[in-house]
């Protein structure tokens, strides 16, 4: 039944699906790992139990999210070979060693110290335990660095040659790693991960403030999250702008599609706020535009000429509508985050940070904003690279495995079913963990013996039905 489908299209859908699911977890765990390290450091420094309570609360959530990130990540490391074997053969000599370094410097570090971080506090003591937490956080950042070097090289390849077998071969590793878009992409993504986590933490804190449960812990996490939003959101907007200018320089077609510029504008290009991209007629229907603003943003000159997609052969256009919209979603959410950050700063100044219900409601609403923005951003940059896998060098159509469409279709369906089941359940458990208070027992469940850290004070867990005996062991 799938013979009519094109194996390349199915493989693209499969990659997009599995990588979109995957990126959600690192986007959260990069930020959360750093947050955990900060919480534990504050606990060691100030000896204030509230930080350890929050640490334990978020540690359990981190464990679930990290587990999902690990298993969805293993799929990625093999999918290059199963579905994109020609790409792997050709690009392996360049991107493979970078991923090899990711495994050697980051994955083992995270995995090795994760066990100690989750289960080892009483075996190794607080200082070594903090070292383990720090190593996990550091590992997530190293991992981000290598994989973004890989992705950036695919966007703006540099430092390579070709051999007689048609493989890309590294000539200058420094240029391969520090390729033109890498620094921008790395900063933009790490800040995105921090913002994503800040808005999740902020939403959980705000929700508990609205419920008026455990005010001290909720206040602490809400306040920390809002500081992050206030400080990081404006930096992220500046970083995003710099990244956009870098893209204009190295991947102009992507920017043309983001802007909806089908035609060149020799005397200053308008900024199209909204409209319906119409690729058959090569125009944006119902466009609401501000004259010359695009030239001002991209060239810092109202009358600077800007080339459009008419300067690029039709078969090398990226799909315009997808990128046009995903870009607007990302930017819109970025400014909404800035708005929350400024609003919280105002409330903080007025002394109403803990009592402003409307701010708290808005923060709850914005809880998933980071994930949506991260996905929209990645869709923009990845779809914007089409029709290439390695920009300007290797076409997507020439990257695919010699594999039949039914095989790709069958595995795609299997991935869709399994991912929705497994990660749906995981998301449900995470939401339930968030709803619970740091110290409260969970409804309908018994704390696993490995989970209830002995450091948790108070008799609350002991009262939990069915596990009173064990829980007594958990509490001091």
């Amino acid at each position: 039944m799938f013979e009519s489908f094109d194996a390349t299209l199915l493989a693209r859908i499969q990659f997009a699906f599995t990588v979109s699911f995957h990126i959600i977890f690192p986007a959260f765990s990069i930020g959360l790992a750093s947050y955990l390290a900060v919480l534990e450091a504050l606990w060691l420094w100030k000896k204030d139990q509230v930080y350890m309570d929050l640490f334990n609360f978020w540690k359990t959530i981190f464990a679930v999210a990290f587990g999902m990130g690990v298993v969805s990540g293993i799929v990625m490391s093999y999918q290059f070979g199963t579905n994109w074997s020609v790409f792997s053969d050709k690009a392996g000599p360049v991107i493979g060693p970078l991923m090899g370094y990711e495994v050697l410097t980051a994955f083992f570090l995270e995995a090795g110290f994760l066990g100690v971080m989750l289960f080892g506090l009483h075996r190794v003591g607080p200082r070594l335990h903090f070292l383990a937490t720090f190593m996990v956080a550091f590992g997530t950042l190293i991992s981000a660095t290598w994989i973004l070097a890989v992705n950036s090289w695919m966007q703006t390849p540099a430092g390579f040659g070709m051999n007689e077998a048609g493989q890309f071969i590294p000539i200058d590793w420094w240029k391969v790693i520090f390729n033109p878009s890498f620094p921008y992409r790395l900063v933009h993504m790490v800040l995105a991960a921090y913002l994503t986590t800040a808005f999740v933490v902020g939403a959980v804190g705000a929700w508990h403030l609205l419920e008026n449960t455990a005010p001290r812990r909720s206040r602490t996490m809400f306040s920390m999250a809002m500081w992050m939003a206030t400080i990081v959101a404006p930096i992220q907007i500046l970083a995003g702008d710099a990244h956009g200018l870098n893209t204009l320089e190295h991947q102009p077609a992507k920017v043309m599609a983001m802007e909806g510029h089908y035609q060149s504008h020799p005397e200053g290009a308008p900024l199209i706020l909204f409209g319906l991209p119409n690729s058959t007629e090569k125009r944006v229907d119902y466009a609401i535009e501000i004259p010359k603003l695009s030239s001002l943003i991209l060239k810092h000159d109202l009358n600077a000429p800007l080339a459009g997609l008419d300067t690029i052969p039709d078969n090398l256009h990226p799909p315009v509508a997808v990128i046009f919209w995903s870009f607007r979603v990302m930017v819109g959410l970025g400014f909404a985050m800035l708005g929350i950050g400024l609003w919280s700063l105002w409330c903080r100044y007025k002394g109403t940070l803990d009592s402003s219900d409307w701010l708290h409601r808005a923060a709850v609403l914005m809880g998933p904003a980071g994930f949506v923005a991260v996905l929209a951003g990645w869709i923009t940059t990845e779809v914007g690279r089409q029709p290439y896998t390695i920009y300007g060098q290797l076409l997507t159509a020439n990257s695919i495995s010699p594999i039949a469409a039914p095989a790709v279709a069958a595995s795609l369906i299997a991935f869709i079913i399994v991912y929705f089941l497994v990660f749906g359940a995981g998301t449900f458990y995470i939401l339930r963990l968030m709803k619970r208070l740091p110290r409260d027992p969970m409804p309908d469940l018994e704390d696993g013996p490995i989970r209830t850290s002995g450091i948790m004070p108070g008799p609350a867990a002991g009262a939990h039905a069915g596990s009173a005996h064990r829980s007594a062991h958990h509490d001091h």
């Binding site: 070979g81 991935f415 497994v422 309908d444």
Partner: protein, 334 residues
């Protein structure tokens, strides 16, 4: 260039895959044995005995795959499409059993689901790995730097046999791990299972070993031609030695000896495959040197590997050391 970089890298990749097989082997084995331990209390202890280390164990699989892409991209791009279905099945199995480590503690009502996910996922992953191994041993047709077979070629009686062999072997690793890490009735039951699976494992190894030389003339020559036939004497003798240590260790109620002897069996079986394969990366046509990436790739990553792999081994040993000794069924890991 006097240093044979592809050869060194073949050795490193072989080491990473071996590390994966024995390390994830025992924790997949725990999952495979889950159905034989219906008590929740036993299952909690079994899972806790590997919970702090499974993630690190699985990272060797990522190193094996990622390393292959980096240093033998041609082998990577031939093997994965050739073994498409078993690889996808393995990945799905690993997803189910991997998340079960966390999810199982997050729900009471749904716990049985994640018990099944853990057991089924582990068994599926192990079986798929065995099938992949068998399919690789029986050879992969290559034309023009690409897999040239059909997408069901991996499915043969031989690959099914290796699938079961790995399943049984992992169950042996898991049961001897439990002997080492648990106490009381649980350890006693693990002993009974270990005794049965060790006989089954030796039988499976025997069948696969006798079958292999008749798949390809190359293997027959390797095992029965001079001077390599010398391995045909040494390897089986060592295997029988490990087998004896295994049986006496289980019967003599020793804690660690059975696990180490089971590891020995795996190392020998792995060495046997290595002897059959050499110098091929993808039998019967792609050698280590055909598949290797250019030296600039190999040397760049080798510098890191030589420094980092020993460091990784050190902190991996440390992580195991932190959680050394028997798992206390009352306290778990606090």
């Amino acid at each position: 260039m006097t240093i044979d970089l592809p050869f060194i890298w073949a050795a490193i990749i072989a080491f990473a895959v071996l590390a994966y097989v024995i390390l994830d082997g025992f924790d997949l084995g725990i999952g495979i044995l889950f159905p034989f331990f219906p008590e929740k209390r036993d299952r909690d202890v079994m899972m806790n005995s590997v919970a702090p280390v499974w993630d690190g164990n699985e990272t060797w699989l990522v190193l094996g795959g990622g390393g292959l892409l980096a240093v033998f991209p041609l082998a990577y791009s031939i093997i994965l499409p050739a073994l498409y279905a078993p690889i996808i099945a393995m990945l799905l199995g690993l997803i189910f059993r991997g998340v079960a480590f966390e999810y199982r503690w997050r729900t009471k009502r749904g716990e049985f689901l994640w018990n099944w996910a853990f057991a089924g996922g582990s068994a599926l992953a192990a079986f798929s790995q065995g099938i992949a191994l068998g399919a690789l041993v029986q050879g992969i047709p290559v034309v023009n730097r690409a897999y040239a077979g059909n997408w069901w070629d991996w499915l043969t009686p031989f690959s099914i046999a290796t699938g079961f062999a790995i399943l049984i072997g992992y169950a042996l690793l898991g049961s001897t791990w439990l002997i080492m890490k648990t106490t009381g009735a649980l350890a006693e039951k693990a002993r009974t299972i270990a005794l049965r699976t060790c006989f089954a494992t030796i039988a499976a190894m025997g069948i696969v070993s006798l079958w292999t030389p008749f798949l390809k003339p190359q293997y027959l020559e390797r095992w029965f031609g001079w001077p390599t036939a010398i391995f045909s004497v040494i390897v089986p003798v060592l295997v029988l030695g490990c087998f004896a240590l295994l049986v006496t260790g289980i019967r003599g109620k020793r804690d660690t000896q059975p696990f180490l002897a089971a590891l020995g069996l795996f190392v020998l079986g792995y060495a046997g495959i290595g002897i059959s394969f050499y110098p091929f990366m993808v039998p019967p046509s792609v050698t280590i040197w055909d598949a290797a990436a250019p030296d600039s790739s190999l040397s760049f990553l080798l510098v890191g590997a030589l420094v980092l792999v020993p460091i990784i081994l050190i902190y991996t040993v440390y992580a195991y050391w932190v959680f050394r000794g028997k798992v206390d069924p009352e306290e778990g890991y606090h």
